[in-house]
């Protein structure tokens, strides 16, 4: 922020009169001088002084002391001065609410000024002053301005309603502004219409169920008329609003489409993308045999391609959207492969996105061209890009069978380059090719084995080990190769360890005579010397299998593997539908539903595509999700990257980037069984293993055997499914207000208050750090003691700037549940150590158990019944929740927000019985039965759990959630 003073040195006595001179005030007595100047009689001097004040404000100096003097300058007919004063007011009114009242009179007066520009300016600025007392005075002027004769004032007033709503929603409703706003949709001026639509859309978003934006054919018609006449930005507001409308039938849908298509030729890319959104959505309703449907499809391609000649940032947004469109309707761009070829000078983010789309568009017709390009890319400089290109070659092999052979030979060429990361990436994809085309390309194994030593990345090592284990009978020295890996077993990553264990067991089953020693060695390494529960559990399962029934072991371990799907990272269909409704927005850039990155209630409602109309609805419904030639929807596990995103900094172990999909039914079966029957014991393992398709997921029958021997560990591994499931869910869990955890007295001036929250599956510790000492604090760090559920910081404490005296900072610390576990007293106690440059401080706090209730905690009904019966009655605990005035539906909705799921509801003699389930991060299930007697504010809650000590805390969560 020093530039202001530097600047004055550099420029000296510049002859040019420019604004930068306002930054050159002397430090000493500055405020005092300004005060004098502000009260000067001369207009010019006043104006200069206000400019100086604004300059100081920009560089972050506190000039709030001048508030009364600046406000005094407000009463002027000089528009320029007025604007400057308003700018100041917007910044400081909040910190000086009492003095801000002084400005009200002038505002009210300005709202009646004969000059429409001043009226608009006043109403615009007033809305930006977020002081409760001012808002009361705002109502009357606003009401007048909404009906002003000048359209410029009306369009400004329309936005002001949204501002006021953001400050005080109730006030807006009480004053009837919403109705006035609705009336403005019929305004004669297109810009007023556009702003009214924008304001209404925003307000409607925070009231998902209100019928605020009551779109009917008449209003739609008005909007479409305004669409032709308003500014580019207005067109965007209107198109985005139109996209939320559900046409009544295909005819209406077609007529809207016809009126929206001209927008595809607009120079503004955002107008084009919003138009594409409307068309993509409404097209869904048109019968496919309609001529117009085909015409529309054809019209969509050229504008999408044109977006790629925009500036790179926009290209990136366009490509992320095209990625969605290609998944939804591959036919639109199937002939446009060439435009996605990477240019040498494209920024890396554009290159990576283009590559993604190239693979999606690859088909038998264009595969030769694509392969030639990919091979070219594999020699580029950027490591990420090269890796992705190599991976893409592998995906082409899997997608287009005719090209597999060429792909494999291309990959072998690349392996010959000996560039380390290219080789590793190639081996990872060759493993997938082997799985897709068994017994076809095994001749290359020898070449792969030559590169064994150069592999240093876990994924490549794991892939190579898988190959060796899978083809052990054809590799003469398979035992030697695997043995060589075994030496450093404990230094390997979990992924490699698991793979090595499985590979050696496979080897043993294939060549039992020579390898008995080896298998014993690995089993003992895995079960006795390892503290990783995943590894241990898998080791025990194999051990038990091998010792009890080797034939069964063979059937399980060497079972035929399910085929892997062609498209490995398709976005899951329901999410795709939702994202299509968000074309052009951030959600479509992140490929995540808005609820995953927007706080609060805004944008959390899920949008959906309208269903196709017409008689053949049932017959056609299967076409809706059509994305490939296969009839059944492809079974896909979306890659973690897509769903969760690196953006949220989630540390998800273990990284399995190409997760081969498993048949859905089988997968579900395995999960249910684990969830219900095995509880916590195997929860972690399922998360860790699907990538290689080893024995576990395939053989549910083998599970019960394992139950007996596996040690009773409380899980503790950050369960993949927990985190993965959380993102798409609504986040409505209750967050307690912050309480002081560490008083300043005890910590040499550092005060910490905080609370816990679970947002979209992510556990966060929200902290407020206040420096009440005299010196600056820096170098913050945080650590937790072992605790009952393995809570641990998932990242460092992000205090970016030093905390100066009297400064307060809010930090959100993401937590994981993969830390060390130790039972605490009370169970939810957390001991925390915070360090700064002064000292280390300790405190303890208690978190609500709902923090670790996971999003996929809804149990199957049958499983629930079985589990309920299975848990001994001694483990049941009964509680009374008093003074709740909610009906059963409201209560269950509220609880669902905190991941307490209602599985079934029964009504017996006026008494509602809710059956509910909760799953903790460590896999423990808690079952509950809640009895609600109509008219009786006291609920009876029975909780059953295998670990009865949690019941008390679950009850507390119920109480907390229901009472808030």
């Amino acid at each position: 922020m020093e530039w202001a003073s530097q600047l004055c040195e550099n420029r000296g006595l510049g002859s040019k009169m420019t604004d930068s001179k306002y930054f050159t005030t002397t430090k000493k007595g500055e405020i005092f001088e300004l005060k004098a100047e502000l009260n000067s009689d001369k207009k010019e001097k006043k104006k200069e002084a206000v400019k100086k004040v604004i300059a100081s404000m920009t560089v972050g100096k506190d000039v709030s002391a001048l508030f009364p003097d600046v406000v005094n300058c407000m009463q002027t007919d000089n528009l320029e001065l007025k604007k400057l004063v308003y700018l100041y007011l917007m910044n400081y009114a909040k910190s000086q609410p009492d003095m801000a009242i002084m400005a009200v009179n002038t505002f009210v007066k300005d709202c009646e000024d004969p000059n429409p520009l001043i009226r608009a300016l006043a109403v615009r600025t007033m809305g930006c002053i977020r002081v409760d007392k001012i808002t009361e005075y705002l109502c009357e002027p606003l009401r007048k301005c909404l009906k002003d004769e000048d359209p410029y004032v009306r369009k400004t007033a329309a936005v002001c309603v949204a501002k006021l709503h953001d400050i005080n929603a109730q006030l807006v409703e009480d004053q009837g502004f919403l109705d006035t706003l609705k009336d403005l949709i019929s305004d004669s001026n297109p810009m007023v219409v556009a702003n009214a639509v924008a304001a209404l859309s925003e307000i409607a978003e925070s009231h998902p169920n209100s019928n605020l934006l009551d779109l009917n054919p008449q209003t739609i018609n008005k909007l479409l008329t305004a669409l032709n006449e308003c500014t580019e930005w207005g067109q965007i507001f209107i198109l985005d609003c139109l996209a939320n409308y559900m046409p009544r039938d295909d005819r209406e849908s077609q007529s809207i489409c016809e009126r929206v298509t001209p927008r595809l030729s607009h120079a503004n890319s955002a107008v084009v993308l919003s138009a594409v959104k409307v068309l993509m959505k409404f097209m869904e309703m048109l019968p496919k045999d309609l001529d117009y449907y085909g015409t529309l499809l054809k019209k969509l391609a050229p504008p999408l391609v044109t977006l790629l000649s925009a500036e790179p940032e926009l290209q990136y947004v366009a490509l992320r959207n095209i990625n969605l469109i290609v998944q939804k309707r591959p036919e639109i761009l199937k002939h446009e492969m060439k435009v996605f070829f990477v240019k040498y000078n494209d920024p890396i983010y554009v290159k990576l996105e283009k590559l993604d789309i190239m693979i999606r568009l690859a088909s038998q017709a264009n595969i030769a061209q694509v392969l030639a390009e990919l091979k070219e890319y594999a020699t580029e400089v950027d490591v990420d890009f090269v890796r992705k290109a190599v991976r893409a070659i592998g995906r082409c092999a899997i997608k287009v069978e005719q090209s597999a052979e060429r792909c494999v030979s291309t990959l072998l060429d690349l392996i010959q380059t000996k560039v380390n990361y290219v080789v590793q990436e190639a081996i990872v994809v060759i493993k997938d090719i082997f799985r897709k085309y068994p017994n076809k390309y095994e001749s290359v194994i020898a070449t792969l084995c030559e590169n064994l030593d150069s592999l240093d990345e876990p994924e490549a090592r794991a892939a190579m080990i898988w190959i060796v284990g899978e083809y052990a009978e054809r590799i003469d020295n398979a035992d030697e190769l695997l043995e060589s890996f075994l030496e450093g077993f404990h230094d390997e990553s979990t992924q490699v360890q698991l793979q090595l264990l499985t590979a050696i067991v496979k080897l043993f089953l294939k060549k039992p005579t020579e390898t008995q020693e080896l298998v014993q060695q690995v089993l003992s390494l895995a079960t006795q010397d390892s503290d990783n529960p995943d590894l241990r559990d898998r080791g025990y399962i194999y051990w038990r299998l091998l010792s009890t029934d080797p034939v069964a072991a063979k059937e399980v371990v060497l079972a035929e593997k399910p085929l892997i799907s062609e498209e490995t990272d398709l976005i899951e269909p329901t999410l795709l539908e939702e994202l299509i409704c968000h074309i052009g927005t951030l959600a479509s850039v992140y490929h995540k539903p808005p609820s995953a990155f927007v706080e609060g209630s805004r944008g959390v409602q899920h949008k959906r595509i309208p269903a196709r109309a017409g008689s053949g609805e049932s017959a056609e419904s299967s076409d809706v999700g059509q994305s490939g030639p296969s009839e059944a929807p492809p079974a896909v596990i979306p890659s973690q990257g897509d769903l969760l995103g690196d953006l949220l900094n989630l540390d998800l172990a273990p990284p399995t980037a190409t997760v081969p999909s498993v048949q859905p039914s089988m997968q579900m079966g395995a999960m249910d069984l684990l969830g219900g029957g095995l509880d916590s014991l195997l929860g972690g393992d399922i998360g860790g293993s699907p990538s290689m398709g080893a024995g576990l997921g395939v053989a549910p029958a083998a599970m019960p055997t394992a139950l007996g021997i596996a040690p009773a560990v409380g899980g503790g591994l950050g369960d993949l499914f927990d985190l993965g499931g959380g993102v798409g869910m609504p986040t409505g869990s209750y967050v307690a207000p912050k309480t002081v955890w560490l008083p300043a007295m005890k910590a040499k001036g550092l005060e910490i208050s905080g609370t816990f929250a679970r947002r979209g599956g992510i556990i966060q510790m929200d902290l407020t750090l206040t420096n009440k000492a005299m010196s600056v604090m820096t170098d913050f760090a945080i650590q937790f003691n072992r605790n009952s559920f393995g809570l641990a910081p998932a990242g460092p404490l992000q205090v970016l700037t030093p905390l100066s005296p009297n400064q307060t900072i809010d930090v959100s610390l993401p937590l994981s549940t993969s830390g060390p576990v130790m039972k605490m007293e009370p169970l939810n106690n957390l001991q925390v150590a915070v360090k700064n440059n002064i000292d280390v401080f300790y405190f303890s706090c208690q978190y609500p158990l709902s923090l670790i209730f996971v999003e996929d905690g809804k149990m199957e009904r049958q499983v629930f019944l079985a589990t309920w019966k299975d848990i001994p009655n001694d483990n049941e605990a009964q509680f009374q929740i008093k003074d709740i005035h909610l009906n059963s539906d409201a209560a269950s909705n509220k609880l669902q927000g905190s991941n307490i799921f209602t599985i079934a509801k029964r009504t017996v003699e006026g008494q509602d019985m809710l059956y509910q389930s909760v799953k903790l991060t460590n896999g423990i299930w808690v079952l509950a039965e809640m009895r609600i007697q109509t008219g009786n504010p006291n609920y009876t809650l029975s909780i059953k759990c295998r670990a009865p000590e949690v019941c008390q805390f679950v009850f507390l969560c119920y109480e907390l959630v229901l009472k808030n």
Partner: protein, 441 residues
């Protein structure tokens, strides 16, 4: 919507910070600096999510513009807005530089207040803004009442880009057809991809509120007319050059003054133009492109320490036309120790800092051929990684439109004032430039 807008210098110091929404705190300013401007690696995305806050950024020379939001905003709109913001600033004070921004900070705040209300972009046409933004000369407080209402009706009106009552003694307009031709060619001379992205830029100095109609040799229009029987054969002699009469336009976009629904239904381009310079349309073609130059590379590795490069360029247009500013850029490996170049025409130089041989030719007529050969000495390295062989790129300027686009007419009607289409002086010019024009070697 947009929650705030920050402008930083290259060091990450804030020059301008305007917050529109309550959910954006002062710490957002720092978060962007720390995570993006000061980040060690290259920028991997123009959109960054830091602690549930999304940052959109664009860079102009060494100035960072960042828009911030916590909501699910229209991302395309935010970027379009940032570009527009740059345009408006450039129109007011020229180049976007640290000094200019500091010198005009009050103006920028005033602009930001006007073109973004509560994070919603409002009218951002410079022409309209200049009528009432108070900084820099134009003082609106002296406007009469009629003038005031005229301003507001223009800002909110249907023709926000033009004000009434413009008068010129000489009604004149200039039409520039500017094309950039892009090519990616394989070493064997196979066209991997080629397209022309063109712009029609117009400078109009016309009185009143003229109604204009623009016509070009668009295949769809010509075919339609052909069917109708009223073929306009007079265009034939004018076209000459390429010999083709109409071109297939893949897609086009228009300035907001063009009536899109009319284009959609009749494919006619009609509009009331802004005053002064603006871009009327952009278009893209991929079929029957005249590639003005062909590059034939030959790279031979002689042992491990020497490369022989021979590049031939052939011009492919009418001999009477002259191409200008020709530049061929031949990349050399990083371990180059010395280069000897021989060329028949122009000047060639090895530029070590750019890792390339740059061959420049001032002028070259059509249907000619020229050649360069170079010997590149290499230092022996034990670097395992192969040289990536970047493509050979080319720059040039030619006086015709490589897409084959021709302007057929631009008619002007102004019913209220007494001047007719014939009185307007019209100038048309075609310039074809190289976009990304690359041949792999």
């Amino acid at each position: 919507m947009i929650g705030g807008l920050f402008i930083y210098n290259h060091k990450g110091e804030v020059l301008i910070s305007r917050v529109y929404r309550d959910d954006i705190g002062r710490n957002a300013v720092d978060a962007f600096r720390v995570n993006v401007i000061h980040a060690r690696q290259q920028v991997r995305s123009p959109v960054t999510n830091i602690a549930r806050t999304s940052f959109f950024h664009v860079k102009r020379s060494n100035i960072w513009l960042a828009a911030v939001t916590k909501q699910n905003v229209n991302a395309a709109m935010v970027f379009e807005f940032l570009y527009k913001m740059c345009d408006v600033m450039t129109a007011y004070f020229g180049k976007i530089s640290e000094e200019n921004i500091k010198n005009n900070f009050v103006l920028i705040y005033e602009l930001l207040d006007e073109i973004l209300d509560f994070g919603y972009p409002q009218n951002s046409e410079t022409g309209a803004l200049k009528t009432f933004i108070t900084q820099q000369g134009i003082k609106s407080q002296h406007h009469t009442k009629e003038e005031q209402s005229q301003i507001t009706s223009q800002v909110t009106g249907q023709i926000g880009w033009r004000r009434e009552g413009i008068k010129y003694r000489r009604n004149e307009l200039f039409l520039d057809v500017l094309e950039s031709v892009n090519l990616l060619m394989s070493p064997q001379g196979q066209v991997l991809s080629a397209h022309v992205s063109g712009r029609v830029v117009m400078k109009s100095y016309l009185s009143g509120m003229p109604e204009c109609k623009f016509g070009m040799n668009d295949k769809i229009v010509i075919d339609k007319q052909g069917k109708g029987g009223t073929t306009d054969d007079s265009g034939k002699s004018e076209l000459g050059g390429s010999g083709k009469q109409s071109i297939a336009i893949d897609d086009c976009t228009f300035h907001q003054c063009v009536r899109l629904s009319k284009f959609d239904s009749e494919r006619s381009i009609s509009f009331i133009p802004p005053d002064g310079e603006y871009e009327l349309m952009r278009y893209r073609t991929t079929k029957d492109i005249i590639l003005p130059f062909r590059v034939i590379p030959l790279v031979r590795e002689v042992g491990r320490t020497k490369l022989e490069v021979k590049v031939v360029i052939k011009s492919n247009f009418k001999p009477s036309l002259l191409a200008q500013k020709i530049e061929v850029r031949i990349p050399t490996p990083l371990n180059t120790s010395g280069v000897q170049v021989i060329c028949m025409k122009g000047k060639a130089k090895y530029k070590a800092s750019e890792n390339a041989i740059v061959w420049k030719i001032k002028r070259m007529a059509g249907m000619k051929e020229s050649q360069i050969s170079a010997e590149i000495e290499l230092l022996p390295t034990n670097d395992k990684k192969k040289w990536a062989r970047p493509p050979i790129s080319m720059n040039f300027e030619v006086p015709f439109a490589p897409s084959g686009l021709k302007v057929r007419y631009l008619k002007v009607f102004e019913p209220k004032l007494n001047y007719s289409d014939h009185d307007v002086i019209k100038w048309v010019r075609y310039i074809g430039r190289s976009g990304i024009y690359e041949t792999r070697c």
